[in-house]
Symmetry: C3
Amino acid sequence: MRLEIETFENFLKKPVKERLSYYEKEERLYHIMRSQQFSLEFMEKLFDTADLIKFITRKPNGVEFLHALLKHKRAMLYFTQPSTRTFLSFLSACQIVGMSGGEVRDPSLSSEIKGETQEDGLRTISSYFDLIIMRDSKAGFSEYMAYLLDLTGRSVPIINGGSGKDQHPTQALLDVYTLHRSFQDRGGISGKTYGFVGDLLRGRAVRSVIYLLTRYSDLEMYIVAPPSLQIAPDLEEHLTENNVKIHKTDQLDEVLPYLDSLYMTRVQDEYDLSGESSIIDYSKFCLTPKNIGLMKKDAIILHPLPRRKEIDPVLDSDPRAMYWRQLRNGMYIRAALLLYLFKMEHRLVDY
Amino acid sequence: MRLEIETFENFLKKPVKERLSYYEKEERLYHIMRSQQFSLEFMEKLFDTADLIKFITRKPNGVEFLHALLKHKRAMLYFTQPSTRTFLSFLSACQIVGMSGGEVRDPSLSSEIKGETQEDGLRTISSYFDLIIMRDSKAGFSEYMAYLLDLTGRSVPIINGGSGKDQHPTQALLDVYTLHRSFQDRGGISGKTYGFVGDLLRGRAVRSVIYLLTRYSDLEMYIVAPPSLQIAPDLEEHLTENNVKIHKTDQLDEVLPYLDSLYMTRVQDEYDLSGESSIIDYSKFCLTPKNIGLMKKDAIILHPLPRRKEIDPVLDSDPRAMYWRQLRNGMYIRAALLLYLFKMEHRLVDY
Amino acid sequence: MRLEIETFENFLKKPVKERLSYYEKEERLYHIMRSQQFSLEFMEKLFDTADLIKFITRKPNGVEFLHALLKHKRAMLYFTQPSTRTFLSFLSACQIVGMSGGEVRDPSLSSEIKGETQEDGLRTISSYFDLIIMRDSKAGFSEYMAYLLDLTGRSVPIINGGSGKDQHPTQALLDVYTLHRSFQDRGGISGKTYGFVGDLLRGRAVRSVIYLLTRYSDLEMYIVAPPSLQIAPDLEEHLTENNVKIHKTDQLDEVLPYLDSLYMTRVQDEYDLSGESSIIDYSKFCLTPKNIGLMKKDAIILHPLPRRKEIDPVLDSDPRAMYWRQLRNGMYIRAALLLYLFKMEHRLVDY
């Protein structure tokens, strides 16, 4: 018997925990939707896979070896919200593991103009491809698509590549992966002091990575933002519940000396309702050749990019600047995720 | 000596039969332009090829075997009319048999803005690629391009991927292929009763598939449409000449019990001159949880997609609903066509 | 220590000679920016490579052999200025030598709308890809990007695929390659008489190919243009300094009998400031079935394409018309350039 199909509106009313249970099959993650899905064990294994991929790409015939792993699979990059960085990162990740595929970027070229629902459009795509990577501006929409596809009996994995200001789980993974690599010879992610700076209310990257960090223990966090852009109450509550020591402030320079990791972000003014960001003096939330001197010698600097003025480009060559490496890490962690989703990660040991 | 080159206008005045003769080389189809080109023998062989491709994709190393067949060939997908479904289906078909390639979708990005003719643009493309798959809104334009390219002495096959409301030959092939598969254990396509419902005047898919069905014998057809959207006189004449028993009506529910196959279509209101479709009560031409009960238990339901309200999505899980499978069949039949055009279909038996 | 980073404005003030020195590494070309970089020796070797590629593509398993050469490398086609021809030519070249990759064509889809600088955008791309092919409307911008990327310590080669009306070095290469092939059994490029016709002031293709031809000796040139579109003084000076005999005129028919090679061009009216091209009688600068009779029997006709009315399409089948072959040569010379940049050109002898 066919189950009753929920409307999008009703689906969003389901508790997150119930929704998360839909995205697993045979005790593995099947759809990648929210960073809450990632256990510490899952992440550590994925990080090892990403390390191995990075290692193999530099070896003779390594690239060819990786190409062979998923050359029988094809991916759809369904990006109806503008993106260069995430799009190209996923495209590169696909190519690294040998996947071919297609893309939908401009819905105005599609048959939605013939009155087709987006649901039918995505079902069409799932008929042609083995995986869908999806960026859409509507919070929860990729989750709803995953739910609908599973009901059809011909489901393929969906990866949420960014859903409005809601979730961007693979960005969170690459951020934590970068922390993992940076701190692996210094006792790991646990026990360190983290700074988050900028628009912490609306930046989905920050929200996701802060959630993920609570998988680790003994953390201290400095939350540096203009008062109107401080973290949301639910996130603060989550941190407190997980025994993270937090300090909220709007004085960047005062906290810089304490940080092992500094995570900078830009103002997300595309989400302004009426230009409210324009009155904020954002210069107090920038890293410059002057205040970088306040930081520890072995601290690291992250940024999800794109940046505006938060970090002076002249600092790019500072050895603490990790954001360009962070960007490349994204490619490797996404390639690792593709291998995981098709249960091929164990094949790397064959190399 | 160079032959006189016909203008597009004069080319269109040539009888179809004369034009069809241009699209053959060495007694094989070379350009795929109109469904009239497909003989029963051609179709049966192509269906076998598609069956084999589908079979092989599910076998170990089957995907790799298929990839190797045409990896030395490259296709251009020249789609200046909006399309997701057909575009992605052809793209997937190309990738299944290993072809790489390029695409032109938005002529505003092209050098036509520098004053180049579309003819020169396509000759450029034929210089770089081994095959052109072309969707264009002008009836007969892909035929004219095939004609021009052949005159240059450096021709490549062109597949018509939909030419305005005129022809969509590969859609017709996939429709008949789906009927073939559905009825192969029940005596085949001949001798069955077919229903066609909706905008039968302007839907090119319906026109093409009805033409192709006349290759088979002993057919009965119920043609269900609003009076203003009934099939064109030439099509009706063609059916009568081929001894198809036809019944024209606008009462869907009355004919549902007689059908072995029900082919639903949407209103093609993009071809309205002045909103004439808007006054039609299309609810009488829809399949619902209520009237589906009138159908035979072993009937099948087709739709070329995209759909609007003609078929309630809740019916997608009914075992008679074949339209999503039909969509996937399109990918396989197009892959079969690619192998045929490069004379590689016999290589499948090597597997 | 980090060097001071020049602004784009200041970078453009550097003498070309100094800039060219940046684009070499280990005595090989690393970035392909301006046709002045190509020595006679470099060109002759590249032409041999292109000949070999063309030869191998026609041999059994030749295509597969070529695919294997660079299948471990990935290219970004960054084309923010409209182009079909050059884009597809480079795409095809990449595919011939096995490269996969991605494209950025419409900056409005990118994160520049989030306030990212184009510099950061390109650094992002260089993090994901092994090579950037770049078309941009700003003169010198791809050079500036090459300069910036080299400073980051994680540089990849950049090929200038056309920079406004400034430079289009690979177009110049394919033009000279076509002359090379046409004249190789007739004593080569040196000692021949060349005609250039049309908008010689603003056509970057002409400027580049004229520069490159001065690598050869004993040349005579007829420069045929409306007075307001004659070659720029610096180019004329360069020709005189290199002992090229030049004749400036606006009478095409008078010079046709003397030419071994006729290079036609279109009016570049996209660079008009106020429609000044519209008052020129361009019909005097066209090749027609009538005046082609004035040409030598073994002369050749080139055109960078796209064309408008400069060459009547009916002349395409004249054996002297080389422009469609010239177009295909572009694909092979670009493939040769890709092999050169990754130091793989010597691998062709393995075949």
